[in-house]
Symmetry: C2
Subunit: 193 residues, 2 copies
Amino acid sequence: MNIRRMHADDFPAFWPTSQQIIQAQDSYAYDPQLSEEQARALWCELPQETWLAEEDGVVLGSYFIKPNAAGPGSHVCNCGYMVAPAARGKGVAAALCAHSQQRGRELGFLAMQFNAVVASNTVAVALWKKLGFAEVGRVPGAYRHRTLGLVDCLIMHKWLQQPAASATTAPPVQLIARKNIEAVVARKRRKDG
Amino acid sequence: MNIRRMHADDFPAFWPTSQQIIQAQDSYAYDPQLSEEQARALWCELPQETWLAEEDGVVLGSYFIKPNAAGPGSHVCNCGYMVAPAARGKGVAAALCAHSQQRGRELGFLAMQFNAVVASNTVAVALWKKLGFAEVGRVPGAYRHRTLGLVDCLIMHKWLQQPAASATTAPPVQLIARKNIEAVVARKRRKDG
């Protein structure tokens, strides 16, 4: 398995996986009507970086990494992972998560936070716990599961490195969250009354 | 006190409050270097709606309301509140929060979630609890407080209405989360290597 940066022209090979996961409505809070172009923008453009796992030219899965918040929250990163159905049970998610933790450290993040792990997705919950993530919160009924109805979402967290004394009040290496703010500013407001 | 929709041309009167709160770095995870234009976009354009409290033509405070997530998470809303320093201790935040809960119900949201209430902001934490919000999570060290260093963030939650049986698997009245997705798609990717 090789893990490398994912580029826009890699997305068509990943879209069947992405589409299936989004439309299943059992793990991601994405609009199930997302077009390929919208999904590509969400997965490959909004995040700070996107990485791809492949073997013999076949896409096994992907993850993104981005700051979970701006300014005084920019030392915590957030990631999302998707694994192709045919590649499940082979440790791809664990490999992607390990890679993302190392990448998070390299980018200067002190911790990683998942904001909405769907509680009924027991395979994911068990994997994140095995990889060192703690359940630090549970939001009742925050996910409208396609077949189970309203299910809880878990907030999960892991420290990636010991904060240096200087890091507790100074910004981390890169003020990357600025990127998302620019996205907002560049946006035209949609008239909604 | 009158609470009405806030428009782009109301922002200059609110900017001194917004700027002071953002630069204090003790409650909001916004980049402290935000320009007025960036702050206006974040407060007035990205959210679904923005409301203003005023008295005798003076801005007392403001709040925004937006879906906290897309698709299967779009039945939960998220709000942010800011009160002018001179107007504190007069119940403005409580009035804005009560208004936002009613507005959330009208927009079809089933619950309201705060993702990062800075734990050292004890006045806010106590107010939200008094107004019926439950602490459903605590993320260690997720906020880089300007003077206290890394402090915890609380996740707080309140049900706004009883979910109808149909609401548990069908989308709520408005698929508003689509709006944010369009913002992403409209955005140009910044080259970051």
